[in-house]
Symmetry: C2
Subunit: 280 residues, 2 copies
Amino acid sequence: MSDFDATRKRLVSRFESALADYAARWSAWPEGLVAPVRHVLFGGGKRVRPLLALLAAEAVSDDAAPALPWAIAVEMIHTYSLAHDDLPAMDDDDERRGRPTCHIAYDEAHAILAGDALLTEAFLVLADGGWPAKTAVQLTRMLGIAAGGQGMVGGQILDIGGELTTMQALEHMQRLKTGALIRVAADGGAIAAGGSQTQVAAIRACGAALGLLFQITDDLLDRLQDPEEDGKNVLDLVDVQGALARRDEVARGAIDALTPLGERAAPLAALVHAVAHRDQ
Amino acid sequence: MSDFDATRKRLVSRFESALADYAARWSAWPEGLVAPVRHVLFGGGKRVRPLLALLAAEAVSDDAAPALPWAIAVEMIHTYSLAHDDLPAMDDDDERRGRPTCHIAYDEAHAILAGDALLTEAFLVLADGGWPAKTAVQLTRMLGIAAGGQGMVGGQILDIGGELTTMQALEHMQRLKTGALIRVAADGGAIAAGGSQTQVAAIRACGAALGLLFQITDDLLDRLQDPEEDGKNVLDLVDVQGALARRDEVARGAIDALTPLGERAAPLAALVHAVAHRDQ
């Protein structure tokens, strides 16, 4: 196992444990809500955003623990959006990661409400995160902007609108829908862990490039998996070689941004490399 | 026009003006999102919760302005929940207040996403409310609890579950679905306006009784409007005279709770009276 794989396993395992502890609080919720919420939240995801948050925290501090509530909130936002995007009125997906989606396992009403509960709970997690109040407010603002109308919800509106006929329009949609949360995940992890302004600025620059890198590699994967597909694919408009070159350039930028943090940021740099070369 | 009517008009008008100013920020959102969000938020509601928040603020302070962001956030939560509850998968309502519901005026996807955007935005409003950070965090926690799994979303799950066969189960559902947000609306208004602990405690006691009063009068109105309806109606299980007596007792409790605030709380007491005797 590589050093990075070991770090990833350690941090994801720490995240899963903190998430399970948090979810134990829901004993006061109606049972009919807890089951679909757990279905959505413990759905076998790779926990990329929490990992990113915790790697950013360890790049600025010896202790990633203060970033755990932030990682939990970000993952709640990510998974709520999957539950709502999967609904028949939107992408109408029956399966995700080999399991039935929430509205198939339960029904549409429960999938909508499970998403609503997770979206709400994400902000409650931030209010209870244990940071100085100013930090909690800053993180709440960051998450609200990334998740809302100028972020993920706005991106999904553009995606279902379907009039994405220019590369610019497609990239704008993806920047909102996917990029916004990736960008803040790292940034918030560094802030939650008490990083200095200089450190947070370095992480922010890396996160911004990483958000773009996710979009580029999403497109590359779409293209490689289904070369015939047309429609909303940036690579229908540019050549694959150009996209690969751009991917490498953006990944290099993300890694270069970490220089001020020194060796401590090596695992985060390794994540950037892994994202650039991911095959799923 | 009574003194109370004049106060109500003044405060609702002030709220509408602040809300319109806030909504002007959404020029950066995709147009396809702004229209359904505005449809939901400016849907001709009576603005009971914002009025309650502002009356509570004026009961503890000369200036209700600091409570405006709280009033906006609470109304965003209320209206998002209406948009989601109206969906075909839930109550399947085509009309609300004489206008088409959001999924009729637009479509289901836009109604789901408009709700998601408003729910998210409510927390962003709190992060940008201009209060001391500790106050912002306290209000975020209050709204998160009232809106989430142990509040409104939990109540809606119980409501659609349909196994409400005892008065206790019905009242529990209503306490979560309707009562939770009413209860915090006043409380948060007093906190946002900088009320002292004693003042906030008085408002909180009034708000708790008012939440219950809303439930009792909802039931009375249901019964009076449709005496044949069975199912989830508390008054199928108790007599109307008993409910009227209970209504008066709870209203008296809500008004008595305001005693420590003196004359300043008279308009809030008048609202309690108006809720007890409302006919819609």
